[in-house]
């Protein structure tokens, strides 16, 4: 088949589809050098396009009408990166914010081009230098893109670890500054005046001496031709000079999200596109034994079926998913109807099929009693227990948890003989690029990923093989664009889980009730991202003798990065236990924590105490509440236990429990660290509000169980999501500034909901529950 002809036909079809909702920017590879604008792009178009005006640098294009296109290398999945990344660029660019248009950066160019040298050296003194670049982390070079590609054009195209601001701030500000300086140089060149006599503001360059002005749009073409002679001398603005950063900006993608125009991956339509519905073996590690396509071949719209193997673990971070089969049809509903009727027999590993949740829990309980990896051993823990006046011990557990993003996994893939195009919402396009190349044998330089907004992410867009499934199916249908869409049920199977976890905490208290020895054991299956998070640094609260060991076992359920990774579970264990210790000591849980923080030498202990004090004060801590209502407090910090970046908050949750056992989160009071400054405080508030809901669901409702080796809860009828009626009517957020750069906002905020609801239930009902979710327990009282 002559694929060039195919491409011409393809483009002709695109041209004929003017006005309908079809993408028209697809370019034949041989025409790559020519500039093209989209022929019929819909209003929600977010894809990279070759600019009509030469770019100033890889982040910025200024059109003659002063429209500024800012390339975004992270994925918008609700966290506001579409806006905050643009703010960081525009803070320095000094452009008209009303004319800023974000657009996704090209993962293909990222495979072809290296990062400009001037972005590589980060100035300043790490976490605590307000004039510096902070502490971006890019990992070591890893061609799969998992750890990072530190010298590719956009370096980090991942959207994870709450790191988009932390890792992007320095070079995004710098990109804006470099472009501004070059626009000034272009104006100086135009007027033959010294650049030092020029000022830039709101996309207008002014030469005060002669009274001349010129817009960015008029000199952008010239700026594109003028490199900066000494880009290494360009400095970014410290927070005290910010004018756009630090202000509440409404998110630039919101207007299209209230009209239905936003294009998510599921909304992609291409000429000649066919749809694929997928069934993978429900038991991980299983494969297709046989299927009978003949039974459905004649159903309306049905075209073909294709079997695909267990995705290569080298492409899925070592996780073992399942083999499966896809049915391809003219519409997705036809494909889905056919695959539901198609007889499929599975080949299931018997050792996996025998597994259920109770066995797994027993496995964790057995492992936690075995010698683990001792990560901290300070003082003499055993002697401390001998001297203790009272010993408190508790075992907590957290279940497997799915992300359950709203948009089911999907990707649209067109493979031809020398090029792959993928339309996908993806938290890790560099990994997907590598997968596409590995599966098709087509070099990464010929893989084009057209990023879409994501309908929720919460961890590499599912951390599962949606792209790999779609690429394998499309690779078997070269020349035809294939839109693969998972059912909700397949989406639950096709994801990694937050690992089931267990913790046993044992403390020896002195006669005053203060801990003198603490032994912490946590247990999660191997590969359960962050299983030792933060306990391996310190106990957080002061104790003279402290031992921490982590314990692991092996299970077949693939686990990965779900919002909060291991830390969220650990915060539940630790803060729950602090409440239990305070109660055992007969002391106020707020003041008990406060005193134990004051006794530490943690680098940010003053900030942590401030957070506790502020949240307690906001909540009216200690003032009377009606019977059936209680307050509980907890600290949340990420990173602050080490000398580095930190995000610190404390929350007081006011919780009611009816006699019938109905829990209501009535009010949340939040004291939150801003570090040196928040980029977009409005987005930060939304992140906090949203994570209150997230951890409320973790605490009250959600659990994934395993039966006969497969996931049981595979839709929202069995894996419930809270609704507006359960939401706290009052969320009060107050910020306080601190002397460090923030670690991030996208996870580990509001983890306190978990322990706080538990302690409130205890205060109201007298019952202490240590196994999440609380909704599984009898919470009635009289």
């Amino acid at each position: 088949m002559n694929t060039d002809v195919t491409r011409r036909e393809f483009l002709a079809t695109v041209a004929a589809a003017q006005g309908s909702f079809v993408l028209g920017f697809w370019m034949p590879v041989k025409a790559h050098a020519q500039t093209r604008t989209p022929a019929s792009a819909p209003a929600g178009t977010v894809w990279y396009e070759e600019p009509a005006t030469p770019e100033v640098n890889a982040w910025i294009v200024v059109a003659p009408d002063d429209t500024v296109t800012v390339r975004i290398a992270q994925t918008e999945l609700g966290q506001g990166v579409w806006t905050s990344n643009a703010m960081m660029v525009c803070e320095e660019l000094q452009c008209d914010w009303t004319k800023v248009r974000p657009q996704y950066a090209s993962a293909n160019r990222d495979a072809r081009e290296k990062a400009p040298a001037w972005t590589l050296a980060v100035p300043g003194n790490g976490a605590t230098d307000p004039k510096g670049g902070g502490v971006p982390t890019f990992g070591t070079r890893d061609r799969t893109g998992v750890a990072g590609i530190p010298d590719s054009l956009y370096r980090r195209m991942r959207t994870n670890a709450a790191s988009s601001v932390k890792d992007g701030r320095y070079y995004l500000q710098l990109a804006g500054a470099e472009a501004r300086e070059r626009l000034l140089l272009a104006a100086a060149d135009l007027w033959s005046v010294p650049v030092a006599e020029l000022t830039a503001r709101n996309s207008i360059i002014t030469h005060a001496r002669s009274g001349r002005t010129v817009t960015y749009g008029r000199v952008a073409h010239r700026a594109a031709q003028i490199p900066h002679p000494h880009p290494e001398t360009i400095a970014i603005k410290p927070p005290d000079q910010w004018t756009l950063m630090g202000t509440e900006q409404k998110n630039l993608d919101v207007p299209l999200k209230v009209t239905g125009q936003t294009v998510y991956g599921i909304d992609v339509r291409l000429p000649g596109m066919k749809w694929a519905a997928v069934k993978a073996c429900p038991v991980y590690g299983g494969d297709v034994a046989r299927f009978d396509f003949d039974a459905v071949r004649d159903m309306p719209g049905v075209r073909s079926a294709v079997q695909f193997p267990i995705p290569d673990p080298a492409l899925t971070r070592g996780r073992i998913f399942s083999g499966g089969v896809a049915v391809i049809a003219d519409s997705w509903y036809q494909a889905r109807t056919a695959i539901d009727r198609m007889p499929i027999e599975w080949d299931v590993p018997p050792e996996h099929a025998a597994v259920n949740t109770a066995m797994m829990r027993d496995g964790l309980l057995a492992a936690i009693d075995q010698p683990g990896q001792v990560r901290v051993n300070q003082g003499d823990v055993d002697a401390g227990f001998v001297r203790a006046a009272k010993i408190v011990e508790a075992t907590y557990s957290t279940p497997y948890l799915a992300r359950a993003r709203m948009e089911p996994g999907n990707a649209t893939v067109l493979v031809t003989d020398d090029r792959v195009d993928i339309w996908i919402g993806d938290q890790s396009p560099q990994e997907t690029r590598f997968s596409a190349s590995t599966i098709t044998g087509i070099p990464e330089q010929n893989v084009y990923i057209h990023l879409c907004h994501l309908g929720g992410g919460f961890g590499r867009n599912g951390n599962g093989p949606q792209a790999e499934h779609a690429i394998m199916i499309a690779n078997a249908h070269r020349g035809t664009p294939i839109h693969m869409l998972w059912t909700r049920e397949q989406d639950f199977i096709g994801t990694t889980y937050r690992a089931m976890g267990l913790a046993r905490l044992r403390a020896g208290l002195d006669a005053e009730g203060w801990p003198i020895a603490l032994d912490v054991r946590t247990c999660m299956q191997r590969d359960g991202f962050g299983p030792e998070a933060s306990f391996d640094v310190t106990s957080r609260y002061h104790v003279p003798s402290y031992r921490y060991s982590s314990h692991t076992t092996r299970f077949h359920v693939p686990v990965g990065t779900r919002r909060g990774v291991g830390q969220a579970a650990h915060e539940f264990y630790r803060e729950s236990f602090m409440d239990e210790l305070a109660r055992a000591a007969g002391r106020d849980p707020y003041l008990y924590r406060r005193e134990l923080l004051a006794r530490t030498n943690l680098p940010y202990k003053a900030d942590m105490i401030k957070a506790l004090d502020m949240a307690a004060e906001m909540s009216g801590w200690g003032t009377p509440l009606p019977r059936g209502t209680a307050r509980a407090i907890a600290l949340e910090e990420r990173g602050a236990e080490a000398e580095g970046l930190a995000t610190i908050s404390a929350m007081v949750h006011t919780v009611s429990v009816s006699r019938a056992g109905k829990v209501r989160l009535e009010r949340v009071d939040v004291a939150h660290d801003t570090g040196f400054g928040l980029v977009n405080p409005l987005s930060v508030k939304k992140q906090i509000e949203g994570q209150v809901v997230w951890f409320y669901n973790d605490a009250m409702h959600q659990a994934t169980t395993i039966a006969d080796g497969h996931v049981v809860e595979n839709n929202f009828d069995t894996f419930p999501l809270s609704r507006i009626g359960e939401n706290p009517p009052e969320i009060n957020i107050r910020f306080f500034s601190t002397g460090h750069w923030l670690m991030g906002m996208g996870h580990d905020r509001a983890t306190s909901v978990q322990a706080a609801i538990g302690d409130a239930i205890y205060q109201i009902t007298g019952k202490r529950f240590r196994d999440l979710p609380y909704g599984n327990h009898d919470l009635t009282w009289s």
């Binding site: 909304d267 519409s331 993003r405 709203m406 089911p408 309908g455 809901v693 999501l721 969320i731």
Partner: protein, 152 residues
């Protein structure tokens, strides 16, 4: 089998099995993708549209049910995003990922048409759409603002 559907005031000739869920006819035959698929079992409400003025979960009703009845989707709320409910949503910057918001807005709009000044309890009872990002705090405020704006 071909049949006619009236969506957002326009008549569309649809060549599909009339038992196809209304959602898929709207998305794939009429070509309006603002209405979303998420659970497919009428649980989450991402697919909410108005059928004959009532909010329905379009993933779980056959398109045949809609023959002869007006269907309104998020695209039909206003031509330019200036309906009071859309203004209120923008004022509070309510959406995060936005995937559930079309359905959320359609549910809230049906409530507001029926009860121009809903109480919080009315909202709890009628806006039962799921949002995984947790936008509920702002959605509630936006519904009350929309009620004020629509009353003017």
């Amino acid at each position: 089998m071909a049949f006619d559907l009236v969506v957002n005031g326009s008549t569309h000739r649809v060549d599909a099995d009339p038992q196809t869920p209304l959602l898929w006819v709207i998305r794939d035959h009429v070509g309006l993708t603002g209405t979303k698929f998420s659970c497919g079992i009428g649980q989450c409400g991402a697919c909410t549209v108005h059928l004959d003025g009532r909010a329905v979960r379009s993933c779980s009703i056959p398109a045949a049910t809609a023959i002869g009845k007006p269907v309104v989707t998020i695209e039909g709320v206003s031509p330019d995003g200036t309906h009071p409910i859309q203004l209120a949503w923008k004022e509070f910057d309510a959406p995060q990922c936005g995937y559930c918001q079309s359905g959320m807005i359609m549910s809230a709009l049906a409530l507001l048409r029926e009860r121009p000044h809903p109480t919080d309890a009315d909202i709890d009872a009628r806006v039962t759409n799921a949002c995984r990002c947790g936008t509920y705090y702002r959605v509630r405020k936006a519904i009350h603002l929309a009620a004020d704006l629509m009353g003017k």
